[in-house]
Symmetry: C2
Subunit: 639 residues, 2 copies
Amino acid sequence: MRRSIATVSLSGTLRQKLEAVAAAGFDGVELFEPDFTHFPGMAGALGRMAADLGLTIDLFQPFRDFEAMPPGLFARSLDRAERKFDLMQAMGAPLMLCCSNTSPLSVDEPELAAEQLHALAERAARRGLRVGFEALAWGRHTARYGQAWDIVRRADHPALGLILDSFHTLSLRDDPAAIADIPGDKIFFLQMADAPLLSMDVLQWARHHRVFPGQGDFDVVGFYEQVLLAGYSGPLSLEIFNDMFRETPNRRTAVDAMRSLLYLESQVRQRLATRAAAARPDARAADVLQVRELAEPPAAPEFAGVAFIEFAADEATAPGLGMQLRQLGFRRAGRHRSKAASLYRQGDIAVIVNAEPASFARSRFELHGPSVCALGLRTPQPQAAQDRAVALRSQRHRSPLGPGEVEVPAIVSPGGNLMHFVDERLGPDGLFAADFVPDEDDDTAPDAGLRRVDHIALGLSLEQYDTWTLFTRAVLGLSLAESQELADPFGLVRSRAAADVARSLRLVLNASLSSRTLTARTVGRRGDGGVHHIAFASDDIFDSVARLRAQGVAFLPISPNYYDDLPTRFDIEPALLARMREAGVLFDRSADGDFLHIYTRAAADEGLFYEVVQRIDFYDGYGAANSAARMAAQAQAQT
Amino acid sequence: MRRSIATVSLSGTLRQKLEAVAAAGFDGVELFEPDFTHFPGMAGALGRMAADLGLTIDLFQPFRDFEAMPPGLFARSLDRAERKFDLMQAMGAPLMLCCSNTSPLSVDEPELAAEQLHALAERAARRGLRVGFEALAWGRHTARYGQAWDIVRRADHPALGLILDSFHTLSLRDDPAAIADIPGDKIFFLQMADAPLLSMDVLQWARHHRVFPGQGDFDVVGFYEQVLLAGYSGPLSLEIFNDMFRETPNRRTAVDAMRSLLYLESQVRQRLATRAAAARPDARAADVLQVRELAEPPAAPEFAGVAFIEFAADEATAPGLGMQLRQLGFRRAGRHRSKAASLYRQGDIAVIVNAEPASFARSRFELHGPSVCALGLRTPQPQAAQDRAVALRSQRHRSPLGPGEVEVPAIVSPGGNLMHFVDERLGPDGLFAADFVPDEDDDTAPDAGLRRVDHIALGLSLEQYDTWTLFTRAVLGLSLAESQELADPFGLVRSRAAADVARSLRLVLNASLSSRTLTARTVGRRGDGGVHHIAFASDDIFDSVARLRAQGVAFLPISPNYYDDLPTRFDIEPALLARMREAGVLFDRSADGDFLHIYTRAAADEGLFYEVVQRIDFYDGYGAANSAARMAAQAQAQT
């Protein structure tokens, strides 16, 4: 399997792009011509640079406005093509992408288009080059792959083939099923792109909002499957026009790109295996040329809750964190055998405060102050979880182990914090029994009825949002809810939830579009991908709130107008409404159930805050309708 | 004329919004209900707070999904309305905005809609309140003002009227002409919004991309004119949903808002005056109730070129700036009579290097280092130019004057630099003859053939882009070219040009969407609204470049591939192409003429750079097609 990426998908100078692409393990690139036009060296020098980096230049693109033109313009375009062929030969690019004509001067005559493309292919062939014809979704007369294939078929030249791009097909809601009927050797190249579903002009959508497969809403797996069923055996490539990728440091983008392809391959491999194993096995599926080359990471892990949350601290800040946890109803349950770390417990929740000098936690503390530096995720497949993550280009992390301590497979998540995969078979206390010495003398703090971690909200920069979308979906195997935009008084915050099937692990990704929201400031202080807030589940939120208030926990004050408004939106028992008003608890309702929740005040230093939640029946959201109430109250609290 | 603004148009908490609105001189607000729902006080307290700030609450909005509902839902909605009427009475808001129903449960029966709105108005009237009905562009059955007016007319209740919003009409390309036929006293409220022309879902467009009148592409003047012709005499209000305004500091937004209304009024006043003065005077135009209340700033000035560019420096940096100017072919032409400032001249160009301690320039130097702190714009109407700017809410600036020096009216432009309006009657040297002592001994520097300032490019933060659009259009009376997005290797840069009719003054506004481009870094270093580069016009660019190179000026190296590509895009004389290649000159062509230009290398400290341009025939652009070449070369130069 040759993997490739278009240079337009990354930020930087052409040299920097190629270096990032090579470092991420790609085999080749599609050269986006403007990158070459501004490259300080000539074509031969570029070819040598790519070769030195172990990259081939698989495709030269785009060649525009060629086919179905009146004769004078056609002659001129052939000359133009010859100049591009000169470059391709000099740099060693074997294939030119010719995209369907958008010019108002072009005519709607497939026969003429075929004839002219035949002539172009003949010129290419004389130089040992090939031409691929691609339907742009906004092409003037050729917008669908079926039309482009019809023209290629009519042209009937061995040096002319079809180029497919998932964006152009899926953005038009065109059916990719007929791709499987195209002879595989006539598909010269495959470009994959995903996108969020947006209601806008397709050209704007294509130029600004494409994302890597797995980051958007398109059925890219189904599309790729059809291409493989056709017998395609060329490179799998990415062509992504995205405003954010244009500015994101390109090493990170290149890793996301590779992760995206490996994930896509693993999904399509499963689909093909299902076809082959079906009651009426699909003959074509068995024949797919590349099936053995498709990536096959271990299956995504199942999860069984959050095993622990680890805070980075130092000796000066650890006692404050500990006091905060006691106020929240945690008791100190142990000291680490070999490290300066304490364990706090309440219900199924375990929180570690790690102040060990020269540790990973300490390095995070030095960057971000007291903050969450690691999560422990409980799973029956800890090793497979780590292996999958590593196969999908996450970094493995190894911690130094003391004698008798349990080794927990861990990875680095985007932004630099750790995720540990904790073996479920250790039970709720097993890990801590091995690593921590029980702390019997601390049983003074009254429990607040917090039972387990409901969800963990992360604060991301906007440019990490798609990275985390792909990480949670591909590496952790979570499913993602729709992205929403929430109104903070100082700008919008984009938010989406990722959860496992059993809803034992819920992560909420928050990225501020503005630099002035609390979310943005939290990211600045606590790190990109740091924990924004932690929500604990209670079985009786009013009881928990009363106990927490008694311990001096300060909750975010909610406007009386919120409670006046609630009964105009929902039918609520007056007694419940009165209780919520008195306690300061927020309310949401979906078709599946109700949701009661409340937030603690954020610390003055823009540290994280906590949420207490109670889910009733099968409510599956996060109270997004109340996020404006929370953010307004937080802004209010600062003034 | 009462001027109002919806609270959703600004960032901040509700108190902060009201304070900003009051400070900008508004009379009232439209209260966007969610702002109230999250306000920490009750309705009475809000009313008192607004009154204390000298503001009325003109409108409570929005009341949604009311009309044309099945009976059960209708009864429930009436109850909901009563709760909102309670609030309105308590806060002193006389009018409720009811927007057309978007619910799939609503029915397409105008008669039913009218009947239910009649009932709503009756309930309102009992409390001394009124209801205005507005057609949302995405209303399920009522999307156009004509439909809404039909329903209001059928309902026939004195407490029910129409609310008009320019966005909903103009986004649907609906014709506002029939508004003039609606009885003015049945139009209860007017909301104005402008928008750029975008091809997207109208709801997304409405919720994220509205701008103040004068910042977008809609014919808001024509719309407002029809409303005045109808005899409307209520408030003129702004309702703007804009992602950027949500995060921009609200004092600045409020000033833009007021400037926008004053400019809109002045434009419509002119239109009405034209109507009244026409061969067949329009009886209605003479009757417009508010015409005398419409703002009437002095007319926009004519311009006659850039009189001077003033750099802020100190004693340590001034010699370096002077050396740089000499290298560019300027000669030192004088010293200021009373200040530590030097004058440099070449052709019609005058550059002042101001190192006067305790001066305005010095305060800018301390903020931004050596940078342009003021522009002198030549005009036959210097005082009117300043008066207009002040009438449109720019700040007047007065400099201390030495004996015998000329007073030049000046204003503060957005971001804090100055614009001086220099009397054209002073001639090209008059201003300097009065203020500067000639410096006869400096005639060594060879002239480089730079004749005049062609254009000045400013670097803006994204949130200043709309501010500058309105400032250049309204205050300076310039006309704006379409906004473009230019590809820097590290992100996109939004760019548009503003120019006077005579093309004697050309400003280019550049705002980076990314924080990693050179443009973004220049804004960071040289200030928001600071000069990004200065383009000088030459009558023979090749001669100028040769002379400048001889003086050691370093130009941005352009890739050989650029010159290989040029003849595939344009028919160019081979001899000219060879000259451009040799000199490193860039080329562009429009239907009106050709453009030759070249850039100097930016200083390592991200200071500004220079451009030399030659316009051939009537080329009216700025070589935007070459901006990618420039920005790639600049990025290259940094690596």
